[in-house]
Symmetry: C2
Subunit: 227 residues, 2 copies
Amino acid sequence: MDGSEKSITSERIARDLAEAIHEHRLAPGSKLNEDEVGAVYGVSRTVARSALQSLAHQRLVELRRNRGAYVAQPSAREAREVFEARALLEPRTARSAALRMTEADIARLQSHIDEEHAAIRDGRPGRALHLSGLFHVEIARIAEQKTIEEFVALLVARSSLIIALYWQRRSALCESHAHEALIRAFEARDGDLAEELMKNHLLDLVTSLDLRNITSAPASLREVLSP
Amino acid sequence: MDGSEKSITSERIARDLAEAIHEHRLAPGSKLNEDEVGAVYGVSRTVARSALQSLAHQRLVELRRNRGAYVAQPSAREAREVFEARALLEPRTARSAALRMTEADIARLQSHIDEEHAAIRDGRPGRALHLSGLFHVEIARIAEQKTIEEFVALLVARSSLIIALYWQRRSALCESHAHEALIRAFEARDGDLAEELMKNHLLDLVTSLDLRNITSAPASLREVLSP
DNA sequence: GCACGCCAGATTGTATACGAAATTGGATGG
DNA sequence: CCATCCAATTTCGTATACAATCTGGCGTGC
């Protein structure tokens, strides 16, 4: 259905790196050297470079001219903006999804949650976070909104970076309960409820972050320390 | 104010090509040969390729493995999805913008409209369409939502392709009147009205398109002419 | 002792070269 | 006359080589 012609090597590498960022195995600010990336995957710099550019387009890495590629460090402001965008897109999409939801879709969402719990049991919180992000993307897919799905995927990926930087509570899985409540709304095909639950879920996420603009992005010190 | 390290050659070329697509100087389906693009801008295929990849990330061109780059031809379905995404993002953003709007912002939006009229007088409808798209992006900028601004810019660019493919009425500038009404709402700092006007403006846009899935993407004839 | 400038190392930006995949057109055989 | 197959061509995918730029340390001069 989709594009079709993917799976070019560079795209595969980009996906792999994105997953590593997603799962917090690569911390924000990490430098991604073209030679190193190429060496890791056994390809030349050309391919590694292409993968890094792809990630830059997704705002997961920042390219600095003649300096290199670094895992992005969203500022507190960017963090707020990402969640404001999600607040516009996701609740209405959850409503649409609720109305189109099939049994197979629900099963699939449930298995996502199960996997997530398994990851937590196995002590892989990064993987669990990744999966909980995919839950949101899956909802957009079920709503049959490919364009919105793309955007949600971008926003979820950036949210992962934001959580890595600004997460404050250690309360592990407030997430899952929200997701389970959503599933119940989906089972009832209750669009209104799904929309409302998603809205509150996103609000909870933002308030669980510490977005007073402490430190944030060392990238542009100039803006902070004017002479 | 933006990123900072742009103006790499490939980004400049990508912007230039994007503008050409935006203004309908490059029709949907046009082939963009890497060698030709490189020759036009006096750079090597490496740089041309990078620019084309950038456009592919914006979904303005479609890359087909071992086939080349073609200006995208959104299907009727994609067209609908693009406008559904816009319907979620832009009305609320127009409301925010109305509340933050300064005199300078209003003047800037007005000059956009003036330029648009001038372009029409000069018989450059493509340029006028481009400018009317920038009007929407500008609103997101005024709302101080950089993330949403990015998305709106992407959607506006794709809308330009969609209009090139599915525009049916020759009624030139129903657009401008909607934009002028929006400006009046902004002048009054009337968020509710701005939101409502934007919502209706987008609805008008969709209904002015012919999205019965006739023909759409000749790219894959195979799907249309099954044996 | 401090500041300025310069040089070496490293890393990215760009160009070119070679190999692989896919289409095109004609030749061949039925 | 049509279908099939093969090679010639085009175009892309990847690797490598060279040039430009930045970082950091060293030395000289004040």
